[in-house]
């Protein structure tokens, strides 16, 4: 079994990007606009994964870029601009999530349940082509509901590492978590998602012992 290939949507080379940042710092708004165009889709995805609300995500995109613009002088260039921007966006998104759910403690630091919440229980193999078991909108619905079921601290680590392709170190920087905390949350997030998706994607057998594919899993 081979390792997973890095996400193809990696941010642009740092030196070229840092040049844009420096131009923006000197007051060149077209350079900042290029940074907006480069990362608005990523920020929107991250914001919607955290807030689970489209209007909030739209506000987060605007507020995060405006905050980045207003605080560019404070950006020390010790990390990638994208990592710095993600950190701002995650904080904005968490703030909105807290506002919407004041009854629930929303924190990336929350200790979630017990240590065995990720021990695999479902070990049935999946269909060879799980993505073809459902039509596009059904599949997206399953994936969305499944990831929304994870605690925010796990969901956010999974999205930054596995969907957006940040490294462990960048994720730790963006979320102000330690590297071991990122690793631990990533493992638990991956295992919990796997467990939940198994209900939909596993191979089923009929009474004759023949394998058949069935996609009637429910949460």
């Amino acid at each position: 079994m081979s390792a997973i290939q890095p996400n193809v949507q990696q941010p642009q080379p740092v030196s070229e990007e840092m040049e844009l940042v420096r131009r923006a710092k000197r007051g060149d708004d077209s350079a900042f606009e290029e940074l907006v165009r480069r990362y608005d889709r990523n920020v929107f995805r991250i914001a919607q994964h955290i807030t689970q609300n489209r209007e909030d995500a739209e506000d987060v995109v605007q507020d995060a870029f405006l905050k980045a613009y207003g605080n560019l002088a404070q950006f020390q260039e010790q990390s990638k601009f994208y990592t710095w921007l993600v950190r701002i966006a995650v904080n904005e998104a968490l703030m909105r999530l807290r506002r919407r759910r004041p009854e629930r403690m929303v924190s990336l630091d929350e200790e979630v349940k017990t240590e065995d919440d990720s021990v695999p229980r479902e070990v049935a193999d999946w269909s060879p082509n799980p993505e073809q078991m459902y039509n596009q909108s059904e599949l997206r619905d399953i994936l969305t509901r499944t990831i929304q079921g994870l605690p925010p601290g796990f969901r956010t680590v999974f999205v930054l590492r596995d969907v957006e392709g940040l490294s462990t170190e960048e994720t730790a920087q963006a979320l102000e978590l330690s590297i071991p905390a990122v690793k631990s949350r990533l493992l638990r997030a991956r295992l919990q998602l796997r467990e939940r998706l198994s209900r939909f994607f596993q191979k089923r057998t009929n009474g004759n012992g023949d394998e058949k594919i069935s996609g009637d899993g429910d949460q």
Partner: protein
């Protein structure tokens, strides 16, 4: 290697960031432990599915509106002079 030890190394294994000796031990475990093989394989598929299916795409029209709003707020901010955002 026990199954719990395998699980602890799973993330590093899937990301390809473990040393050669640990990798060999993990693959030795995978060769005889069917459950861990399935967990490893389906975890890998889980990650790939979320990468392949871009949830929450930003539609072009909304994207255009957001970009315009962001840049006009930035311009207003600049005109208003230095202040905390």
């Amino acid at each position: 290697m026990k199954c719990t030890e395998f699980l602890n190394e799973l993330t590093g294994y899937l990301d390809g960031v473990i040393d050669a000796q640990t990798k060999a031990e993990l693959e030795d475990h995978l060769a005889w432990c069917h459950n861990c093989y399935v967990v490893c394989d389906t975890t890998k598929k889980t990650i790939e599915i979320y990468r392949n299916q871009e949830l929450y795409e930003l539609p072009d029209d909304l994207r255009g509106r957001l970009q315009t709003a962001i840049m006009s707020k930035c311009t207003a901010h600049k005109k208003a002079g230095p202040q905390k955002v």
